[in-house]
């Protein structure tokens, strides 16, 4: 499809362009719902649709009032603060344990590799409502339900599959003779890990960390069940907001979250390319 050959028939030409139009529509379907939120969040009215003033680009129709509400309202601020406190802790746990395990899994001889891998990926596969219910019952009995650490542990478990997947992916191309070379020159395993292996797999570890972070930062089902009002996070607040009194402040929050996602996505993409370059693969 790179280019239309000069000998193409009319039918082929028609198909070539209509196919591009179809693809364009699908891309539009993918991206438009997210983009539509951004202008609406500057609405001066409390409506969820474009007002006449907005469509005629009248400055009167736009305002920052929903953003002011978000930054001024203690409910939203508490929620933001909770999210910011929970996600990094959960990420730290998933990344440190996940990276170690991924290195272990990439060794040439691991007994029960498949079963272990399946177990570690399972938090991604098991429906969230089941994980949430199970954790709620179990953590209540342990006295962890409704506590900060309960939510952190739960979110760490949910983030682990992403760390495992991204780190094992970078380890696939890892040349094990490098560690042997380091050992032959007298480096102990810890030095080898920090000086040789870590710099090479770092891009994978960081993308895994970003995935784990966004998993915790976006998570709502488990935190509703395991957490209490004191751990109310941003998505939780949005969920209640959407369910009960749908307030336009949600649009401002959504826009901020979209900006965060764009930043994270850019970081991950840059890391992925760097990692491919480092490992001598052509950037695709």
């Amino acid at each position: 499809m790179s280019a239309l050959p000069p000998y193409a028939t009319t039918g082929q030409r028609a198909w070539y362009y209509s196919f591009r139009v179809i693809c364009g529509l699908i891309f539009f379907f993918l991206i438009a719902p997210i983009m539509v939120v951004i202008p609406l969040s500057f609405n001066a009215q409390d409506f969820f649709t474009f007002t006449k003033e907005m469509l005629s680009f009248d400055p009167e129709g736009y305002s920052l009032k929903h953003y002011r509400d978000f930054f001024g309202n203690p409910d939203w601020q508490d929620a933001l603060w909770n999210s910011v406190k929970i996600a990094p802790a959960a990420t730290l746990i998933s990344v440190s344990l996940g990276t170690l395990a991924a290195i272990g899994l990439s060794q040439p001889h691991v007994p029960f590799r498949r079963a272990i891998m399946a177990t570690m990926i399972s938090p991604m596969i098991v429906p969230l409502i089941i994980s949430a219910a199970g954790m709620y019952f179990f953590y209540s009995r342990m006295g962890l339900a409704g506590t900060y650490w309960g939510v952190v542990l739960a979110h760490a478990a949910l983030g682990i599959p992403f760390v495992i997947i991204t780190v094992t992916a970078t380890l696939v191309g890892f040349d094990h003779s490098l560690t042997r070379a380091a050992a032959s020159m007298g480096a102990n395993p810890v030095t080898t890990f920090y000086r040789i292996q870590m710099p090479l797999i770092l891009p994978g570890v960081i993308s895994g960390a970003l995935f784990a972070f966004i998993t915790s930062f976006d998570e709502v089902v488990v935190v509703i069940f395991v957490g209490s009002a004191k751990q109310q996070t941003l998505p939780w607040q949005m969920f209640t907001g959407l369910r009960e009194q749908i307030s336009p402040t949600i649009l401002a929050v959504a826009t901020i979250l979209v900006a965060i996602s764009i930043a994270l996505l850019t970081t991950v993409e840059l890391l992925r390319r760097r990692s491919e370059r480092l490992r001598g693969m052509s950037p695709s």
Binding site: M1, S2, R20, C23, F27, F29, L30, I31, P33, I34, V36, V37, F48, T49, L97, G104, L105, H109, R114, M117, A118, T119, M120, S122, P123, I125, V126, P127, L128, I129, I130, S131, A133, G134, F137, L153, A154, A156, A157, I160, I165, S207, F211, I214, V220, V221, F225, P235, M238, L242, I246, A254, L257, V258, S261, I262, V268, E269, P283, S284
Partner: protein, 424 residues
């Protein structure tokens, strides 16, 4: 090799041990080191995730409450034969009076009432009303208990209620599971519930049907996009890829709220349709809080999970196959259908299973845009956990859902391999 060792004796390693043993030891050490690296995470996952899920599954058969609250009654009732159609005799009633007095003093009589109410509606109030008077029972002088209890609440004179108590006295029950598949324990073994009470199987059917619809929509939309991405020059494809990855990275709640805003009756889509003149202002389309809303929103949310596996498969297909087919006289369609499409089937399979697994357990999106007709089985589980507090039934429904998911997970592992999951 074996010949050599036979003639020249065992090959020795540098320290003098036979090479075979030395190698075996090195291998063992290597395995041990790998396991030591894995162990912390494995223990963490087992304790923080697997154990809670297993514990929840156990709740779906656990039923200690009747025996624990009414121990004497359960013992006395063991000899009673429900099939005769007669009420139990005085001994059972006396045991019940003693149990109820004790339970009412500990304030746990309502719990057993609630439990039995799941199976036989009306029993909750029986226990509550009787419990109020039970504290004043004089076990020595009172009685005869049969008349007295029936006098307090005539439910104690109903054969059906006694049968329920007897049926649910063992500590392990299949009751919740029967309930979850719309059955109940009748006079002679399990039987289907009346037509109008059969909700869960219908709900599971709807969940499966809608997940299938979402998966099919995803296949239809993802295929052209994946094809375009795989066949464009790398630079252009990378830019377009961002359009696929951005939704993937955007918060689920942002996407769900976007759809809620778009699909509302006063929302953007209806406004545009009215503006264009396709729909009259007083007959705006109802496209939210029904199955349509759920399918559209979830197709959008899960589409990247379909595009990415398809794309990675299509990338590996050599374009010269298509050219070869065409040079042999195939039309565009034949070349695509007979040569290209069969090679993309693994990608379609991988994407479909992934999307289906994720769709079947969704909770947030159906809860927000599904109304009453577009909800999934997850929403019913959440309802039983947080609103009706029937945790046993919630666990049984969860176990059924989990079983479906695990079968698919196993199939995914067989077909694609867990290690081949790619993220972006």
């Amino acid at each position: 090799m074996s010949d050599m060792t036979d003639t020249a004796g065992p090959v020795l390693a540098a320290d003098g041990t036979p090479l075979k043993r030395s190698l075996a030891r090195a291998l063992r050490r290597q395995k041990l080191r790998a396991l030591l690296l894995i162990a912390p995470l494995l223990i963490f996952i087992l304790v923080s995730f697997i154990l809670p899920v297993v514990d929840m599954l156990y709740r779906s058969v656990q039923n200690g409450i009747v025996t624990n609250t009414l121990p004497r009654t359960v013992e006395a009732l063991a000899d009673w034969d429900a099939s005769t159609g007669e009420l139990p005799d005085e001994v059972v009633y006396a045991a019940l009076a003693a149990d109820l007095k004790e339970a009412a003093e500990a304030k746990i009589h309502t719990k057993v009432g609630t439990r039995l109410n799941y199976e036989n509606p009306g029993m909750s109030s029986m226990f509550r009303k009787t419990g109020r008077k039970a504290k004043k029972f004089d076990l020595e002088a009172g009685g005869p208990w049969k008349e007295e209890l029936i006098d307090i609440n005539k439910g104690w004179g109903e054969h059906d209620n006694w049968r329920t108590i007897q049926t649910y006295s063992p500590t392990i029950t299949s009751g919740y599971f029967l309930n979850a598949v719309d059955m109940r324990v009748g006079t002679d073994g399990p039987e289907m519930r009346p037509e109008d009470e059969q909700i869960y199987m219908k709900l599971l059917g709807r969940t499966l049907w809608m997940s299938l619809a979402i998966t099919s929509c995803c296949i239809l939309l993802a295929y052209p996009v994946a094809w375009l991405l795989a066949n464009l020059p790398a630079r252009k494809a990378n830019i377009l890829m961002i359009l696929v990855l951005l939704p993937f990275w955007t918060s689920l709640l942002v996407r769900t709220s976007a759809w809620k805003i778009l699909l509302q009756q006063q929302g953007v889509i209806n406004d545009i349709l009215v503006y264009v003149g396709l729909v009259a202002d007083d007959s705006r389309l109802v496209i939210i809080n029904n199955q349509f809303g759920t399918i559209v929103a979830m197709t959008h949310i899960l589409l990247p999970f379909m595009i990415l596996p398809m794309y990675s498969v299509m990338q590996t297909i050599n374009p010269s196959y298509l050219r070869a087919a065409k040079s042999l006289g195939a039309t565009d369609w034949t070349a695509f259908w007979r040569v290209y499409f069969p090679q993309t089937v693994p990608g379609i399979g991988a994407g479909s299973i992934l999307v289906f697994i994720l769709a079947i357990g969704y909770y947030i999106t159906p809860a927000l845009v599904g109304g009453t007709k577009g909800t999934f089985i997850s929403n019913q589980i959440a309802f039983h956990i947080s609103t009706s507090l029937n945790w046993g039934l919630a666990s049984a429904l969860g176990a059924i859902l989990l079983a479906v998911v695990l079968v698919l997970y196993w199939a995914y592992d067989k077909i694609v391999g867990i290690d081949n999951v790619k993220l972006g």
